[in-house]
């Protein structure tokens, strides 16, 4: 098991790293007029750009870890008994994995990687 201090270190590091990658992600929205950036063709084009795919995947992983750990923290503070604590830990980890899996699926399909 991870010590709580290691978890918190991960929480901070994922937060900071996410700040960086999200900034890039948003800047990509702004290099062309906003509405155009959302056109299907443009979006799919982005997804075929490998560095960008890696960027998206890392945003996904970092934010899922950071966000669900944050949720775990909040929930842990609500009730204190063994069942609740274990329940919270397990379900936040499960949700984290589910979101990462679901997002990754989108990325793989949209980028056409799945077809290859």
């Amino acid at each position: 098991m991870l010590r709580e201090r290691q978890i918190m270190r991960i929480h901070y590091i994922t937060g900071l790293a996410a700040l960086f990658v999200v900034a890039v992600h948003i800047l990509m929205r702004l290099i062309m007029p906003f509405h155009m950036s959302l056109q299907y063709s443009n979006v799919i084009a982005n997804y075929h750009n490998m560095p960008y795919v890696i960027l998206l995947e890392s945003i996904l992983v970092l934010l899922a870890i950071h966000g669900f750990n944050g949720l775990r923290i909040i929930l842990l503070e609500l009730r204190q008994n063994r069942k609740w604590e274990n329940g919270v830990t397990i379900s936040t980890i499960a949700a984290m994995i589910a979101i990462i899996a679901f997002g990754t699926r989108t990325i793989i399909i949209a980028s056409g990687l799945g077809v290859v």
Partner: protein, 157 residues
């Protein structure tokens, strides 16, 4: 030990919680100064962003359904309400990240000053002007970002 209670998921020992302030305690940020407000906002924005994040993943998953599905999803978000929501996302994420950076510093013991001999009236060192201005900067940046975002979204193309 006092907390060994296995009665169920939603119950803990009566004695433990008697007179605890409970959720109402943290939902009311108005009594203890700016640091408490910042804590409250950090939490709410964190939760809000998590919800948005999940929503956003769901939103983008429509890409897998082809252009039709994607456009249908865009239809759904490209409304004034959707834009307002996006502006809120911009604001909260700006606040959350800026204040988050401040918190990462303080929670690692930086920017608080060294402990010393407090003098009457004992203004706490850790609640110093640097921290307060950090909170203000986060709030102002969030406002600016929301304004800019609003311009982009509503300003037309």
């Amino acid at each position: 030990m006092r907390t060994s209670n296995r009665r169920g998921l939603f119950k803990t020992a009566e004695e433990d919680r008697n007179n605890r302030e409970g959720l109402k305690g943290w939902l009311n940020p108005s009594r203890y100064g700016w640091e408490r407000v910042s804590y409250w906002l950090q939490r709410l924005t964190g939760l809000f962003l998590l919800i948005y994040f999940i929503g956003h993943i769901y939103e983008t998953s429509s890409l897998t359904g082809g252009a039709g599905a994607w456009n249908a999803m865009l239809q759904f978000t490209e409304t004034p309400w959707g834009h307002l929501f996006l502006i809120l996302v911009i604001g909260t994420s700006t606040y959350h990240s800026t204040n988050g950076i401040r918190l990462i510093f303080t929670e690692a013991g930086r920017g608080l000053g060294r402990p010393g001999r407090p003098d009457y009236p004992y203004d706490a060192l850790s609640l110093n002007y640097r921290q307060k201005s950090g909170i203000w900067i986060a709030l102002i940046l969030a406002a600016v970002a929301m304004f800019y975002g609003g311009n982009v979204l509503f300003g037309g193309d």
